[in-house]
Amino acid sequence: MEINSKKVDQVLVISVSGRLDTTTAQDFESSCLELVKDESRIVVDLQEVEYVSSAGLRGILSVGKTVRSNGGGLVFCCLRGMVKEVFEISGFASIFSIYDTREQALESA
């Protein structure tokens, strides 16, 4: 699992790649919490994520809750394959805003 981030105008874009599972979820959570600390508009790009389990979802939820409780907004983009399916089954696709492309996500973040 790898995390990269960059600022596009006022929006922080976090790109994740690899697997979000029981071995990587904590690392994902702590890295993201550090990155989003002083940010209010965040896009998480999951294009390169090939696998997510409930442990990964817990990390995502924790980051989402933190951002919202700080008054910020967090959206996701570019989900594919089983990641998209897991988001849908778990209801994450309805509690978070999900966009097909990064451009759409940036406009809405």
């Binding site: 599972d21 029981t22 409930s54 809750k65 394959g81 089983m82 209801g91 509690i95």
Partner: protein, 149 residues
């Protein structure tokens, strides 16, 4: 395959089952579902089946049914626990009120085509079945693929 119910056992068991499923021609998207289901079910057992001892075991087997479906059986000797009886999480709650518990089993029930729990001879037995062709839109290479012995 019998392994100690510890985190180190997760990947070897996943590898073993995925190899068997792959040899039997399960498509890539189903292999990913199998991997996920194994992570969720095994972690449950590893984390909760043997709260009072550190030496419990988990037994995992798999086979291709006559129908071509792929069956995984996971057994442990822990206290009776039927994961299917756990209430589903409320997937419609907003972020701030969403709880994290119960998501794993919810994923298992939705990703697998059939899940069945049995308590027998002091064991929890979970049978998880994936249909030979499970995802909508996925077409088999041969519609009448033979399963002859």
């Amino acid at each position: 395959m019998q392994m100690p119910a510890r985190r180190e056992s997760l990947h070897p068991i996943q590898e073993f089952v995925l190899k068997e499923a792959s040899v039997r021609g399960m498509p890539g998207d189903v292999l990913q579902k199998i991997e996920l289901v194994l992570e969720e079910v095994l972690l449950n057992i590893i984390n909760y089946a043997y709260p009072e001892t550190d030496s419990g075991e988990v037994q995992t087997g798999c086979r291709e049914q006559d129908s071509g479906d792929f069956q995984i059986r996971i057994m442990d000797h822990g206290a009776p626990f039927d994961p299917l009886k756990r209430p589903d999480p409320d997937t419609g709650r907003p972020v701030q009120h969403r709880e994290v518990g119960g998501l794993g089993i919810h994923l298992v029930k939705n990703m697998a085509d059939r899940v069945e729990y049995t308590r027998q001879d002091g064991r929890n037995i979970l049978d998880i079945v994936f249909n030979a062709v499970s995802s909508p839109g996925h077409k088999p290479a041969h519609k009448d693929a033979s399963t002859s012995n």
